[in-house]
């Protein structure tokens, strides 16, 4: 590679990183402002309805609620960045200890699901794409079509109904974890939540891979290779799989981003102690510091997954390397 394209690539990369940081900062402003509009006074929420006005005022000062809003924002952002995002209004625990375990649990769920769904989708998509319009392909299309129609939590509930209560009661429908216990220590409990997440992402990803495999098979260079008598196995390895790498990378980042959102309701269905169920509880309890931090974590993950996907795509696609977007 020559010097100018590497400079262009570095410029593109720094622009993209900068944009990511700016988006996360703006997200933090949005999250902070949104929680300011919340009805009710957090100090009163902590102390209860029969607290004296003096005690409420004292707690307001302690929580910094009497300061200008800009000061409050920077104090909060500083706290988040230095690992001290404040205390829960409901349990009085440090928010960081409250969600530490749960963040790990959610990460385990997302990563296990991603580790299954990405290779599976590439396999199913490539398989169907190679046999375009044959019975296998049609079955894959119909099944994925059916699955895309179902909201992921309806899939999860159907799994619980089928496999943990009525028809074949073979798997646990709720997850029971002691605080600090690894979710991997009882793998049986993880089966249904992971399957629900996999079935939620598989149809999109498999269709994406199928489409790109069909595109490659129809391309000029595969036709040329076949005309030259290159064996089918070599065509598959040298052209199809290599070109399926880009959609696979984009698909992985898409899947991770999608799974991040998907866990919110899946965790609630299985009573899984993760960030999603913590967010739902916090919203129902109006626990502002917890809502703020979890929303920020979700948005930051979303931005980071997209960023990694974009960067890797540019690095593995020769013709995109210099096309600064």
């Amino acid at each position: 590679m020559d010097g100018s394209s590497s400079v262009a690539r570095r410029l593109w990369l720094s622009r993209r990183l900068l944009l990511g940081v700016v988006v996360v900062l703006l997200v933090s402003v949005l999250v902070f402002l949104a929680t300011q509009v919340l009805p009710g006074d957090p100090a009163r929420a902590v102390l209860g309805h029969d607290a004296t006005p003096e005690r409420v005022a004292a707690l307001r000062t302690e929580l910094g609620l009497d300061r200008p809003i800009l000061d409050q924002y920077f104090a909060w952002l500083g706290g988040v960045l230095s690992g001290d995002p404040g205390r829960s209004l409901v349990t009085q625990e440090q928010v960081s200890t409250l969600i530490g375990d749960r963040a790990v649990n959610s990460a385990v769920l997302v990563l296990v699901a991603a580790a299954i769904v990405v290779p599976l989708s590439v396999f199913v998509g490539a398989w169907a794409g190679r046999r375009r319009d044959r019975p296998v392909d049609r079955v894959v299309l119909v099944v994925t079509l059916g699955l895309t129609a179902l909201p992921e939590f309806i899939i999860a509930l159907l799994l619980v109904i089928l496999f943990s209560t009525s028809v074949f009661p073979v798997l646990p429908g709720t997850v029971l974890l002691a605080p600090g216990q690894s979710p991997l220590s009882n793998a049986e409990q993880l089966v249904l939540p992971v399957v629900a997440l996999v079935l939620g992402v598989l149809p999109y990803l498999a269709r994406l891979v199928r489409g790109s495999v069909i595109d490659v098979y129809e391309s000029e260079y595969v036709r040329t290779a076949r005309l030259k008598g290159v064996p089918e196995r070599v065509v598959l390895r040298r052209h199809v799989l290599r070109n399926a790498l880009v959609p696979a990378i984009q698909g992985t980042s898409l899947a991770l981003a999608y799974l991040t959102g998907g866990i919110v309701v899946i965790e609630q269905v299985f009573n899984y102690p993760g960030l999603g169920s913590a967010l739902v509880d916090a919203v129902n309890n109006r626990d502002v510091p917890v809502i703020q931090l979890i929303c920020l974590i979700f948005a930051a993950c979303y931005v980071v997954f997209n960023l990694i996907g974009d960067v890797l795509t540019v690095y593995v696609t020769p013709r995109l390397r210099t096309a600064g977007r």
Partner: protein
């Protein structure tokens, strides 16, 4: 052009099956409350009682009739997801088209704002906004609309951008046609088809999201009869009395199946008519 497309898409088997399914569910939703054997909040027996002559599908966690609540419980999902999708797609289209047509600072400003909204997984954004709204049912469509805004804006932006660069817009501008008329006559017709597909997709997702909101406790509140709320309320008793969960789950599943098939049928017709506009 769009009416011909719609008429052609009626020949798609998917479209027909989808219309039948959606029609059936809508029939249940409209006629249901009229033929329900009990009022939806009447106590007709012990909690989680099995099916009997008075309660064909048994009773729920309070002893209310499951059948009557299923028959009464679809209306809120329909109107909230329909209004939410309509507002979201319309506003998203306006934002995307304005950004694409104006270009420059306006383009950057609008689309970067959309990037910030897009940084949230939709359900997380909805939870954040619902926390602000204090679980106010009247605000639910608006919040669903905001959640779809950034994605719709991107679709509209992409489609409009392509049209703006074409010759007939330039020539209309040279001829001195007013801006609004250019948008209405030249840009909107070309953006309309992708927007209609987008509407179908978002409607299917809205149905899921609105049900999920009630299931998570930030949507409709008791004593309302609502499929999402029913799933939440009776989930604890699933092993004891499955109908209170199973029937609402199946209703939502059939509904989203139907709307998704309609969208697929339409999108396939579009793809057949103009191969570059979509793919199956």
């Amino acid at each position: 052009m769009n009416t011909t497309l719609l008429r052609r898409s009626l020949r798609e088997p998917r479209m027909r099956i989808g219309l039948v399914l959606t029609g059936l569910i809508l029939l249940v939703i409209v006629v249901g409350p009229l033929i329900a054997p009990h009022a939806h909040s009447d106590i007709v027996g012990a909690p989680y009682a099995p099916s009997s002559a008075t309660a064909l599908l048994g009773t729920d966690y309070l002893g209310e009739d499951v059948l009557s609540r299923v028959l009464a419980g679809g209306q809120s999902i329909v109107w909230i997801s329909f209004v939410g999708t309509l507002v979201g797609v319309t506003a998203g289209a306006v934002i995307g088209m304005t950004a694409a047509y104006s270009g420059g600072v306006m383009d950057e400003l609008l689309m970067r704002a959309m990037d910030v909204l897009r940084a949230f997984p939709p359900l997380v954004l909805i939870l954040l906004l619902m926390a602000m709204a204090g679980a106010d049912t009247a605000l639910m469509p608006l919040i669903v609309a905001i959640a779809w805004l950034p994605q719709v804006a991107r679709v509209a932006y992409g489609a409009a951008r392509e049209v703006v660069s074409r010759e007939f817009v330039e020539s209309a501008e040279t001829l001195g046609a007013p801006r609004l008329r250019i948008v209405r006559r030249e840009i909107l017709p070309n953006v309309m088809t992708p927007l209609m597909v987008e509407f179908g997709l978002r409607l299917t997702w809205s149905i899921g999201v609105v049900t999920a909101m009630s299931f998570l406790g930030v949507g409709l509140q008791p004593p309302a009869a609502d499929w999402g709320l029913m799933i939440k309320e009776n989930y604890q008793g699933l092993a004891l009395q499955p109908w209170g969960v199973v029937v609402p789950v199946l209703c939502v599943a059939l509904f989203t199946f139907g709307t998704n098939l309609i969208t697929e049928g339409f999108a396939r017709t579009v793809a057949r008519v103009s191969p570059q506009e979509g793919h199956s």
